[in-house]
Symmetry: C2
Subunit: 313 residues, 2 copies
């Protein structure tokens, strides 16, 4: 299946893997790219040396296109922005803000630039500065979220800009892919489903949390700090929510609580005190399998739907 | 287009109109039913006499099937539950809870019963007590909302039950309809788009608020009381949000603030102090037109999409 996005990225299937902090490393990214999607390494808050090493590892494991997600609020964002140029990374996605200041150096280096946006206003801004596509992400996704849902943000962004739109948030099977296409998207990005890929190096406890999740297993915390985050309910989120609702706790104390919580989930598998970022679609993700099997399942599900008789629903 | 839901309800198009309090009266419901959808009168907190009169008005304006939405938290719920039996209303939808206690009298009266659900757990419970279908509603919808989005609640409910699923939340055009079908729904329910129908008797100020809304024009208030509600941002919601975040204001004071706010929006058109319930898809709703033209636009948009070449997105 060819779309504007498969052509733009020179990939086989219209599927991108989300740039999940502490999760999306060279191992997962190369596996997704080898399977015909676009694998993405999350630069998160890591420094330039870590990212450079991860890019080299990814190159050693795949000769297919891959990307780096630049987290714009990272203290290392400026250095990371240079590394992707020096290492000639084919694709950069950006999160947590407006990437306008880096567009010039990235486009001069021939990098395909695709910001994650959560509203029409940011989609229009980044189109104007010359990005190649946008990822319109709904608030059902895991991690940092906006306000709009996938069902509402995708068609409104599609109507507002001319460049291709990739849908993210709440997509984990062929049904979600076809729904995204119906809303006007030319590809999908998935995080949660790839988190449980065999090639993902995240802790086994994390994968178990996702495959055993129900529809209502996630919760949003951090609204008070202006940075809402979706993760799987556990002792950590219950405690965080309690302190967040208690005005005798300062914002600084809340920030403190967050430090190290992603690492504790992803690396240590600390089910009590880790913050297990994951989307509302976790309830649909039932098993661990290879990145290749995940992509095959999505594509088969989508093709079956697209060929069905829609007159007998 | 025939689906399980058009056959169940004996309607021409797989489109239900949401049971919006202070908005969905006999005028709107009969117009939607005459146009081939299923119009629905909202019983809201009104008493049995009001509802009986509205049902009679609706019958005078249409010979097509229509429904009544029973708000289970209404102080008049028991009386209203009897009126729909006495008046032989063809279809009842329910909101704000578990309708199990009324299922027996409704099914004995031959009424088709369709609860609104926001999670897999409630969908399974109501299937077990013998309802005919469910409306799986995402939190992008206007009014009282749950936690899950349409993109995530619909496929998870579809997988969990055998009866037909109607998708609601974030749907206002043919793209949304086809997305809902892809996710496994057999029909859609729309509120916000029907709110601006010519036949809707809501204040002109309300319709203007919806047609001029942008993607980020809605906000959720009332989380502290356990009854989150989505409405269009204005002086009322700003003030409410401020007091809600201020722990020196009691829950009782917050409840007080809500009294009369829906009526002020729907009847008085009080743009400052009314609570204008509406969904995130308001940004896509650009004009007032007849219920018939709304339904024709949705169906044409959906059919165009279903016949398109999906290989060139």
């Amino acid at each position: 299946m060819q779309t504007k996005v498969t052509k733009l990225l020179n990939i086989k299937f219209p599927i991108l893997q989300g740039g999940m902090a502490w999760i999306a490393d060279a191992s997962l990214a190369s596996a997704v790219s080898n399977a015909g999607g676009l694998g993405i390494i999350a630069a998160m808050n890591a420094d330039a040396d870590w990212l450079r090493a991860e890019i080299k590892k990814c190159r050693a494991m795949t000769d297919k296109p891959f990307g780096v997600n630049v987290m714009l609020m990272s203290p290392h964002a400026d250095a990371v922005a240079k590394v992707v140029v020096e290492e000639k990374v084919p694709v950069v996605t950006t999160g947590a803000g407006n990437p306008s200041k880096y567009i010039k150096i990235w486009k001069e280096a021939g990098i395909i630039v695709i910001p994650v946006v959560a509203s029409v206003a940011l989609a229009k801004i980044v189109e104007r500065v010359g990005v190649d596509a946008v990822i319109a992400e709904g608030c059902e996704s895991g991690g940092h979220i906006g306000e709009l849902t996938t069902m509402t943000v995708v068609p409104q962004v599609v109507d507002a800009i001319k460049i291709p739109v990739i849908a993210a948030g709440g997509i984990a099977d062929g049904r979600g892919m076809v729904a995204a296409f119906a809303l006007g998207a030319s590809a999908i990005q998935m995080g949660t489903r790839f988190l449980v890929a065999n090639e993902c190096t995240v802790s086994e406890a994390y994968k178990q949390k996702v495959v055993s999740a129900k529809d209502i297993s996630t919760v949003v915390t951090g609204r008070r700090l202006g940075h809402p985050v979706r993760s799987i309910k556990n002792h950590y989120t219950n405690n965080y929510a309690k302190l967040e609702a208690d005005s005798s706790y300062s914002n600084a104390e809340l920030e403190e609580l967050g430090i190290g919580s992603l690492r504790r989930a992803a690396k240590d598998g600390d089910t009590e005190n880790g913050c297990f970022l994951a989307g509302q679609i976790s309830g649909l993700v039932k098993k661990q399998e290879s990145a290749q099997d995940i992509i095959a399942d999505i594509m088969q599900g989508a093709e079956k739907l697209l060929n069905k008789n829609w007159n007998n629903l």
